[in-house]
Symmetry: C2
Subunit: 376 residues, 2 copies
DNA sequence: ACGAATATGTAAGTGCGCTGAACTAACAAA
DNA sequence: TTTGTTAGTTCAGCGCACTTACATATTCGT
């Protein structure tokens, strides 16, 4: 569902629509159905997709040949008529490499199957590597991950800190000293595999959207770690923003009389919400619930205009559960509801993520699944 | 570009993609090109669309038969090769009815051509009509507008206050005492013409996007009148929100210690920014620039999280120019930039609308053009 | 002045993908 | 057994865009 283009193959630039595209679209439609609802018979697929049984049979045949789908036998319970042959996604027919660069001390990666399940993990210590050295480290991690699976690799997804453009070039990532670094292109060139790179908060929201969200309304995931960033899925697709900087909320000023921030402004959201700051505040003593509650309230005040404007369905906080899931979340929830109309807050769910730290990794895989199979 | 479905004809519910759809898509592609860039030769259209000259010829022939497009002769300046035959949109081959229900004392409407130009106006006094009486008034206005043109009517677009769902049902509009009022359906039934209804701020942003905006980045239009509401175009399409309430920012609390609002909360954006409040504040005396500047600053503080989160390209204020275009706008602009990162504010343009009050009317027409011709 | 080059637009034939109708296969109920 | 129902396949046909080929109209070069 994302608009991100794969790197490693060119696509027709214009809006021209060929029959070939229709076929791919229908292929994705079936894969999507199997991905979200599990195994089904060809006849079921025909009914839900609106295509005829003939066409579905043909497409399924193709998918079986490709190994993406396999026949699973007939269902146990029996009704009138010829018993159907269930077909389902062959979750391990192909693997995806997911890489998370959002940690400050290491790079983590995983081999992930088509069902979004992590099959193997691997990580490399960063040891202060920046610039080209950091790029080389990503290459090494990717290569070693590919070597960890005997299945074909559908693609590589990377969640990187900083601003990333649609082509997978990291425009600016201070921690890694990357500026205009064509990470997707260099990985694709070196490994000969389609590569997708996006901001880590953006991959996180994709992960949450695909594997955690309850509906198809607007979803915002706020990543709270060393920094604070957000990713949004609106209308089913990832929001990129004008210059690819959507979700950059960490340095929005929420308290002009607050702490000095590294970014030269005062009272940025990060200065109250980033994990190091939270921990420091708590270590300084005082009533923890009150401290966290106050932060949650400020967060709510900052997010209320966003929630109201976008009429979000779900707002998800992702980060250390022990800090977020409690007074902070409750205060933020309450504060948002106090500051928006009922029509805005009525459909809103505020919660923490259940996917934990894997959300970026799995989201990176979703980037690939979405780009290569049209599944998400 | 909107996702709004027309009322008055059913569309295939599922994602199935037929050849017929491809043809319609390509038809829209050509219309879109002619709409945005003006007349062109069939060969030009082939180049920009990526379709072959053969296909374009065929499609153009169809469009000429339908009367939507006409041949315009050869261009004056001549180059090598057979001189092309320019074709262009026949702007007055078909007319669109646009209706604006956002005023409190009257309903205004217009006959608008395919180029977005108002060809005739008409209005009816509201005289306090609410509920069914107000619906009847809309019917009358629409009927009288249809009678004012001798051209076929492509459809009716309505910008209504309140929350409107994707089917064109007004969920809630207090001023008109409408709740779950199926305005689009009733108009379509009565007049036999496709009808599209959306929130007035949403039609406004469509008008601005199509006839005023400079780029294709995110656009937000803030309508400042009796109330305050916003509409957003993100990724080229109108944002609806989870329950169709996107843009409902008027009752977001910006100053918890502020004035009591009719909505029972305190310090809503409307209590400082709505036109009646602004005029009252100014009438009370004091330095006008300071008053407006202070309001602009508060507005900026409320919008900074939105701008940062969405990485907007354009933020447009629509309302009385004499109030908005000056200290208020400048303060809002400055305040947003002070409160967001450079990467967020760098690509941002903050300005007032040049379309004036017609923006809702013209936007309502865009709703129809977009829905019926795929043009916007 | 006249052929060569260049560009526009049309005509005829091809291939692809989906469809409807008809058919076979496999089961439950009577 | 017979009847009815559902699953999946075969086949002919249709719509759409493509390729190839050509007629047409103009400028450029000599």
């Amino acid at each position: 569902m994302t608009q991100t283009s794969p790197v490693g193959r060119q696509l027709r630039p214009r809006g021209k629509l060929l029959q070939e595209d229709a076929r791919r679209h229908h292929r994705s439609l079936l894969l999507q159905q199997l991905f979200r609802e599990g195994p089904a018979s060809r006849a079921d697929l025909a009914r839900t997709s609106g295509l005829t049984r003939v066409t579905v049979s043909d497409l399924v045949g193709e998918l079986v040949t490709d190994g993406l789908v396999q026949e699973l036998g007939a269902p146990t319970e029996s009704r009138v008529g010829k018993p159907p042959m269930l077909v389902g996604l062959a979750a391990d027919s192909t693997h995806v490499i997911g890489i998370d660069l959002s940690a400050t001390d290491r790079m983590t990666g995983a081999v992930i199957n088509l069902a979004g399940k992590v099959q193997a993990r691997h990580e490399l210590p960063l040891d202060g590597a920046v610039g080209d050295a950091a790029v080389a480290l990503v290459h090494r991690l990717a290569q070693e991950l590919i070597a960890m699976t005997d299945r074909p690799v559908l693609g590589i997804g990377v969640g990187s800190p900083g601003v990333v453009d649609a082509a997978g070039t990291v425009i600016d990532a201070p921690n890694l000293a990357w500026t205009d670094t064509p990470l997707a292109a260099s990985l694709a060139d070196a490994l000969g595999v389609p590569v997708f790179v996006a901001n880590d908060a953006n991959t996180a929201v994709l992960g949450e959207h695909t594997f955690g969200a309850s509906g198809d309304g607007g979803l915002m995931v706020l990543r709270i770690g060393t920094g604070v960033g957000a990713g949004l899925v609106l209308g089913g697709s990832l929001l990129h923003g004008h210059l690819g900087a959507a979700g950059e909320i960490g340095h929005v000023v929420v308290d002009p009389d607050g702490e000095r921030c590294a970014c030269s402004r005062t009272g940025c959201l990060e200065t109250i919400l980033a994990v190091p700051h939270l921990r420091r505040r708590l270590a300084e003593g005082g009533d923890a619930d009150e401290i966290l509650g106050r932060v949650g309230e400020q967060l709510g005040a900052a997010l209320a205009p966003v929630v109201g404007t976008l009429n979000l369905h779900e707002l998800v906080l992702s980060g250390p559960q022990e800090l977020l899931d409690g007074p902070l979340l409750e205060a933020a929830d309450r504060s948002i509801r106090e500051r928006t109309m009922p029509v805005s807050s009525a459909g809103l769910v505020v919660r923490t993520s259940e996917l934990g730290e894997d959300v970026v990794l799995v989201g990176a895989a979703v980037l690939v699944l979405s780009g290569q199979l049209g599944v998400s």
